[in-house]
Amino acid sequence: MSILDKPWMAERSAIDNAVSGGSLNFPKARVALIFLMAVITVLFMLFSVAYKMRMELADWRALADPSVLWINTGFLILSSVAMQWAVSSARKGKAENVKLGMALGGAFALAFLIGQYMAWLQLRAAGFYAAGNPANAFFYLITAMHGLHMLGGLVAWTRSTARLWRGNDVADVKLGVELCATYWHFLLVVWLGLFAMLIST
């Protein structure tokens, strides 16, 4: 199909009549996830643009990024790896490994979130309050936003994991596991971008 085709003509009609099924060769839920990830990408891009623009102004004082962020990043990477392992196990039909992968993925994600919270506590203890300087405010804001999206992911994760534990067939849960993993990788990439921005400024 292209811009030059004339949908009213008999010639084209014969071709169009045979068309069936979705425009994209993905399950519906994956299509929605792709759009959701696009929306979230725009959201974080706008936060980053705002960050860069605000940074240029005179009162910006860079903050000392807590070193626990490196450990958190490690947790998030491990979490993604575990989810990916769950996916490949699901494809091979190994139910036990899927469970383990999902459990580990969730646990590491939680560890990441707790670590992020610790980073906040450290900053506060060091006197970096949100109202003190825009750099601080952005730090809290951006990590909170990313954390919220992680929490949203954990809701979906809970649903899939619960179904696994209730003994559903791996085949039934496979799509859920795959979508969780995709979202996890996506949030990892977003975090790496944000983290790079935060530590470099």
């Binding site: 949908p7 008999a10 009609s13 009549n17 519906k28 605000r54 009162d59 910006w60 804001l141």
Partner: protein, 602 residues
């Protein structure tokens, strides 16, 4: 006849409602959700209408109505603008018409995620409730103007600076969540759930408009969310994202260094696409009204599709034309003036195509058609003033005057409302099974159409003579002549009349629900699928046992050689219902002299 293999689109399992609660309240049926969305939107829209009439009372007869003080005036302005743009038009076009038409026009049983769809409505309702709660918090709603510019939006002295602004921002955030849930549903349904034979280029333009507008919304609303969240933090936590160092009421505040311009960029990066989020569905719907009631294929279908897509894309690179007076770099202004004028090209193409659709059509001048034609006129009018404002040098003196008010009301107030009315008259018979009363409809049209001209046309002149917008009292300035005051009085009278006549419309909606003429399944003899359902109103699941199969595009009106002057999209080709062999669509495709349908070859 072309052989079509049996249905391959997978059928879906629907959640079947059985009680009153699951059928009408917690419904997951897209048609019920559409009605819920529409009624809620119309209800808040009425609030916004009343607010506008209050403003007109003050402007028409300054100081006469002492219950309108400056504070309440600014609250009227703000709530009116925000409700109309977001909670009425966006919600009605996408949540209302989008929900109703997408599955029906595409031959689907429902949206792909019915539960999410239901959630979307309830979160929307929550956002409306939070917004309305503004009236009950101490200090009342915010009076910051619908653009909510800091620093004034959160400074003492602006009405609602304590609570109203918080409920407003919270409500917007909720709305965005609701919209995103609905929007993911709409795009996925359009892409993945069309019935057999319904290719993208066979979709009615209504769907194209709604589809592209939804994508715009998904990508633009995050900018509003970002600005709302950051403004909320400035307000509640005392951060200085947007707030500069400032002395307010003789006191140095704790803010320092923030950038109000940053807010403006974020706001308009959302705000300009927003006007097309409202305009594109209107473009789509009106195309279908025109084609159906002119008994003629839409002129330049492919161009219409590409214009919608092009406008959608371009609408992301013109936002700073709202900021010409913000002190920006002149090269920046030059860039945005250029893109703004470029976007007028596809827009103008659409206007030509609508007009050419009418040309030599077999026009049935019924109520939907009247509104559709009213739209073309009004939109052209508003678009032309947009061209003036798009040029920096012209905009600077006109900025923040009534000229801008006239422009955007013509283009995004009256025009979309014309389409909303036209579409309600057009689709009401499908939703309820009964026709709206025709005579009341004509009366409603003429008073509304002429009345809105009486309201907004003189505002261009007010703008030229320099009357500023958002002034509560304007009568004691040397530069504003006496004539502005009498003119305003006239405008206010027209506004009261137009406001009152909407009651006729509401009465019509209510009375026709029980007493209207029975519509039958296809009263307008239209081609698109929603008119071909086995029951009217369509039952749960829309299509009975088998999904429809599509054999033609959406605009087979007056096809040469056909027995009838319309061929439904699901009508298989046959001798009586041919598909075009020769490409003779266009100026000659219908000959009104030969009566709807057949045509002697020229």
């Amino acid at each position: 006849m072309v052989y079509v293999p049996p249905q391959e689109v997978e059928d879906v399992h629907l959640h079947d409602p059985d009680t009153f609660m699951t059928k009408y309240i917690w419904s997951q049926d897209h048609k019920v959700i559409a009605v819920q969305y529409s009624l809620t939107a119309i209800a808040v829209g009425l609030v916004a209408l009343v607010l506008s009439l209050m403003m007109r009372l003050q402007l028409g007869w300054p100081g006469v109505f002492d219950f309108i003080d400056p504070e309440s005036y600014y609250q009227f302005v703000t709530m009116h603008g925000m409700i109309m743009v977001i909670y009425l038009l966006t919600a009605l076009f996408l949540g209302g018409f989008g929900n109703y038409l997408i599955p029906l026009m595409l031959g689907a049983r429902d949206m792909v995620f019915p539960f999410l769809n239901m959630l979307s409505y309830w979160v929307y309702l929550l956002s409306v409730i939070v917004l309305m709660s503004s009236y009950f918090v101490p200090g009342g709603p915010t009076g910051a103007g619908w653009t909510l510019y800091p620093p004034q939006a959160i400074l003492q002295g602006t009405p609602g600076a304590d609570w109203g602004i918080v409920t407003m921002l919270a409500s917007l955030a909720l709305f965005i969540v609701a919209f995103t849930m609905g929007g993911l549903n709409y795009v996925t349904t359009v892409l993945q759930a069309r019935t057999r034979g319904m290719t993208l280029m066979r979709m009615p333009l209504s769907i194209w408009g709604i589809f592209v507008a939804t994508i715009l919304g998904l990508l633009a609303f995050p900018a509003l969310l970002v600005s709302a969240v950051m403004l909320l933090l400035d307000k509640l936590v005392g951060t200085s994202f947007f707030m500069p160092a400032i002395v307010s009421m003789g006191e140095q505040l704790d803010y320092s260094g923030g950038s109000p311009i940053l807010f403006q960029h974020l706001f308009w990066f959302f705000g300009h696409p927003e006007v097309y989020i409202v305009a594109l569905p209107a473009f789509g719907l009106v195309s279908d009204l025109l084609s159906t009631h002119a008994r003629k294929n839409i002129f330049g279908y492919r161009m219409m599709v590409w214009a919608i897509v092009a406008i959608g894309g371009l609408s992301f690179v013109v936002w700073a034309h709202h900021m010409y007076v913000s002190g920006m770099n002149p090269y920046f202004g030059f860039f945005f003036a250029t893109t703004t004028l470029i976007i007028a090209v596809p827009t103008a193409l659409k206007v030509y195509n609508w007009t050419l659709t009418l040309w030599r059509g077999n026009i049935r001048l019924n109520v939907p058609m009247l509104f559709a034609i009213g739209f073309i006129v009004t939109f052209t009018n508003g678009g032309l003033t947009g061209l003036f404002l798009g040029n920096v040098i012209v905009d600077i003196p006109l900025s923040d005057t009534y000229f801008v008010v006239a422009h955007f009301h013509m283009v995004m107030g009256v025009s979309p409302i014309m389409v909303v009315f036209g579409s309600i008259y057009h689709w009401y018979p499908k939703v309820t099974g009964r026709m709206l009363d025709d005579r009341l409809g004509r009366f409603h049209f003429w008073v509304t159409f002429l009345g809105t001209y009486a309201i907004y046309f003189p505002m261009h002149y007010l703008g030229f003579i320099g009357v500023p917008r958002r002034y509560y009292a304007y009568e004691d300035f040397d530069f504003i002549p006496e004539s502005a005051i009498t003119l305003n009085e006239n405008i206010s009278i027209a506004a009261l009349v137009v406001g009152a006549v909407q009651l006729v419309f509401l009465y019509n909606l209510v009375i026709s629900y029980r007493r209207g003429k029975l519509a039958g399944s296809n009263p307008w003899e239209a081609t698109t699928l929603e008119w071909q359902t086995p029951q009217t109103p369509p039952a749960h699941g829309n299509w009975g046992d088998t999904l429809p199969v599509v054999y033609r595009w959406a605009y087979d009106y007056s096809v040469p050689g056909a027995a009838k002057d319309f061929l439904p999209q699901n009508q298989p080709p046959s001798d009586d219902a041919p598909v075009q062999e020769e490409d003779n669509l266009g100026f000659d495709s219908t000959d009104p002299a030969s009566g709807g349908g057949t045509r002697e070859d020229a």
